[in-house]
């Protein structure tokens, strides 16, 4: 009995294991229920392709959550980046420079977020919500609602090509999130970010450049949103002001499911990856079973609540063991 209890605790306490087990169970169940059409290469390449935008945004969101912030502006930045990259390519700029400039713009928006949060001491939720509105409005003002299409094949191929049977989008998003995952685990810089999220004041008093690193975290979030925007423009061959609505809630949900907490100091990109994957798989299943796709919102919401509950269980287990 005791042994069992211990195992259960261990599973609950290790988020990544839990998530991997849950994903495997879901995937197994679906493969049995839908033999042939669910568990095959092309379906999974489809799932991975369409979740790649969410995955990229979640990379940034996880980092921001680690430093104790939240970035609600990412959805709007995706739209902005798609427009900028589309305009630049249409003006004849090379693919490489287009990407660089667009991502820079995303990063600048991130820096503005960071400055509002650190220098002006705004609540991250308020600051980034404000910036979200401003950027989204700016997108509409500049495009007047027109789609910006007619992009060069060199640009559109960016997210349409396949490299060794793997769609480039999947390759980019998965590799980047793995890199972020490793960096979070290994890099000195990111270790400091965890400290900042745990106790911002202690971090500052310890000589950790808390404000700078916070701005850097928001910058990374902007960077990933910018990249996501470039890829979305390239994939659908157009820049549009309507991209990315509601992306931020999905990214937050995925990161929290993956192990991040809103108060900061925790977060695991590998967990986040599985968070994104589970939501994507479940949504895919809803459509395959002819259910309503609208359930996807409810699915994220409910999963979020379940994770929070698991957190709670974990915490009280820790308390019991501690004092």
């Amino acid at each position: 009995m005791r042994e069992k209890n211990k195992l259960y605790k261990q599973i609950i306490e290790n988020r990544l294991t839990t998530l991997i087990i849950i994903s495997i169970i879901i995937i197994l169940m679906l493969s049995i229920l839908k033999p042939g059409t669910f568990l095959n290469y092309s379906n999974f390449s489809g799932i991975f392709t369409t979740m790649s935008f969410d995955l990229l945004l979640s990379c940034g969101m996880t980092i921001v959550l680690i430093v104790g912030g939240v970035d609600l502006s990412v959805g709007a930045v995706v739209a902005l980046a798609s427009i900028i990259s589309a305009v630049l390519t249409k003006r004849g700029m090379g693919v490489f420079f287009t990407i660089i400039i667009t991502i820079l713009v995303g990063a600048i928006v991130g820096i503005i977020n960071g400055i509002l949060v650190t220098k002006f001491k705004l609540a991250p939720f308020v600051a980034t919500l404000g910036i979200q509105s401003i950027i989204r409005g700016f997108c509409y003002v500049t495009t007047s609602g027109y789609l910006i299409s007619g992009l060069s094949p060199a640009f559109t191929n960016l997210s349409r090509a396949t490299i060794v049977f793997i769609p480039s989008l999947v390759l980019i998003s998965v590799i980047l999130s793995i890199i972020v995952g490793i960096l979070l685990k290994k890099m000195n810089l990111f270790k400091q970010m965890y400290m900042i999220g745990t106790s911002p004041k202690s971090a500052e008093m310890s000589g950790i450049p808390a404000d700078k690193l916070k701005v850097f975290a928001y910058m990374l979030s902007g960077f990933f949103a910018g990249l996501s925007g470039v890829l979305i423009a390239s994939r659908y061959g157009m820049g549009a002001a309507t991209y990315g609505i509601g992306f931020e809630s999905r990214a937050i949900a995925a990161s929290v499911i993956g192990g991040a907490v809103m108060s900061g100091g925790e977060g695991d990109m590998f967990g986040t990856m599985f968070g994104v994957l589970i939501v994507a798989v479940v949504n895919n299943a809803f459509i395959q079973f002819g259910g309503q796709a609208e359930w996807q919102y409810a699915v994220s919401g409910i999963m979020l609540l379940i994770t929070l509950y698991a957190d709670r269980v974990k915490l009280s287990a820790m308390r019991r063991r501690g004092h």
Partner: protein
């Protein structure tokens, strides 16, 4: 005098660990009863039981000889037991009157607050306490001392018979403490009130208490009458052994060069502070809370703004505008507020240890050198005898004394030339206190310059080679510690001009 409250065989366990063992405790009518003990001795737990915040595991409480059961703070108030907690419970945005009469506001026919009546009643309460504050102003605009008084007014005005004060003086200035002591003595006389008084400051206990009960490790060690109460005796009972509290730990070696020199520092809460500290020297900074010493240290460390003044480090002029710069230049600060400004409670010992020296653990391309971090953490665990010696354990699982050691090791890991320690033994039990003292001496002997801020004179006199005295933001002077006595320091602190 009859006994108004008797606690009989109170036991309390938290998740299986017993923190109070068969505690018997009684209060007489109209007495001030001090409750002392080290941190973790169970004082606060006992008071929380008497005031209904928590329930005892077993044991009985009698009031006027009748058994009472307290389920929540409201029950305690019904039994006329009131508590003033250490942290104030004043709502800034409500008026003084509302704060005093919260929960008992007079109501008019419509069921709304009757403001006129409210203010009159509040004024009456304040008059009883002998203070004149307009009850209509917002409580947030008062000083902490006055807020404390309002809090006491609030509790007393509930017609209570027993007043519990949990460390009431911890955030007050010296003047405010004196006012409070006068106030307590007076209301005790006037209202025949029984007061239970928890304090760390034994001199206050000596002045105030009619009786003193000492707790240690959840046991009652004894109760002293007023005439029996002496500080050494109390200390003896608190720690269970004689502690040579005045055994000097001064250095015998010569001091080296001047490392840090501060010249005419001005900032919020302090003005015109100059001092220097040399290698192998411990400079004590004495001052009570409100003396501006922590403010001065924070400004020196770059956490707060320094309005003017020069800081010279090893002869070089230095502008320190953030803590990072201070750490990089070899100045480290061990804060008095370790839970909020010092430690990372949910992170491991290892990461707490290296928090100030992260940059030293770069392997290549910014990869963290975990192995080196392990070694460093292990080293300090060993040197400072941190228990349990598990570098991967989260810091919140450690006791106060060990947390303080972890905090010190964080600063040490950054190899400071100058170490500023602020109240290094606050909330630390006596054994650990002793240990921290010898660690500091050892560090100084090995060449570090240490600035030690403390409001505990014995500690300062024991350790520091020189003592700088601050009072209400002003530097009163610096004394060399040649058989310096507490009187010398105090008389300088309160000297005019």
């Amino acid at each position: 005098m009859a006994e108004i409250l008797i606690c009989e065989k109170i036991c309390k366990s938290f998740s299986g660990i017993e923190v109070l063992h068969d505690v018997d405790f009684s209060v007489k009518e109209g007495e001030i009863h001090a409750l002392v003990g080290e941190n973790g001795a169970g004082k606060s737990t006992l008071m929380n039981i008497i005031s209904g915040v928590i329930k005892p595991t077993s044991g009985k409480i009698y009031k006027h000889g009748k058994e009472i059961v307290l389920e929540n703070p409201l029950d305690a108030f019904k039994e006329k037991i009131g508590i003033v907690h250490q942290e104030l419970s004043i709502a800034d945005n409500l008026t003084v009157a509302e704060n005093i009469l919260i929960g008992r506001e007079p109501i008019n026919k419509l069921g709304f607050i009757d403001r006129k009546e409210l203010n009159i009643q509040a004024e009456e309460c304040l008059n009883i306490m002998g203070i004149s504050i307009d009850p209509r102003i917002k409580a947030g605009s008062l000083s902490v001392g006055l807020q404390q008084v309002i809090e006491i007014t609030k509790v007393i005005s509930k017609n209570i018979e027993i007043l519990i004060l949990d460390e009431p003086t911890s955030s007050l200035s010296e003047k405010e403490i004196q006012n409070l002591i006068q106030l307590l003595k007076r209301i005790k006389e006037e209202r025949n009130l029984s007061i239970i008084f928890i304090s760390h400051k034994l001199n206050e206990v000596e002045i105030l208490a009619d009786r003193t009960t000492v707790l240690r490790d959840g046991y009652v060690i004894g109760t002293l009458k007023r005439e029996e109460t002496t500080i050494p005796k109390v200390i003896n009972m608190m720690i269970g052994r004689d502690l040579d509290y005045h055994k000097s730990m001064l250095s015998k070696n010569d001091f080296g060069n001047v490392i840090l020199k501060a010249d005419r520092l001005f900032g919020k809460g302090f003005s015109d502070i100059s001092f220097e500290v040399r290698e192998k020297e411990i400079l004590g900074v004495f001052g009570l809370i409100g003396a501006g010493r922590t403010e001065m240290a924070c400004a020196l460390f770059g956490y707060d703004k320094l309005n003017s003044g020069e800081i010279m480090l090893k002869g070089n002029n230095l502008v320190i505008d953030n803590p990072k710069k201070a750490v990089e230049n070899g100045i480290c600060y061990v804060t008095e507020n370790r839970k909020e400004l010092g430690l990372f409670l949910t992170k491991s010992l290892k990461y707490n240890t290296i928090a100030s020296s992260f940059e030293e653990f770069n392997k290549f391309l910014g990869v963290m050198n975990e192995k080196k971090a392990d070694i460093v953490a292990e080293k300090y665990v060993k040197e400072l005898q941190i228990d349990p010696p598990n570098i991967n354990q989260n810091v919140f699982e450690y006791s106060g004394g060990n947390q303080q050691k972890i905090l010190i090791s964080k600063s040490l890991a950054a190899h400071p030339d100058v170490l500023i320690v602020d109240e290094p033994t606050r909330g630390v039990d006596v054994g650990a206190k002793e240990m921290i003292h010898s660690i500091l001496r050892e560090l100084a002997n090995n060449g570090m310059a240490i600035i030690m801020i403390s409001s505990e004179l014995p500690e300062l006199l024991k350790l520091s080679d020189r003592v700088m005295i601050m009072h209400e933001g002003i530097q009163k002077g610096t004394l060399k510690n040649d058989n310096l006595t507490e009187e010398d320091v105090m008389s300088l602190a309160y000297a005019e001009g």
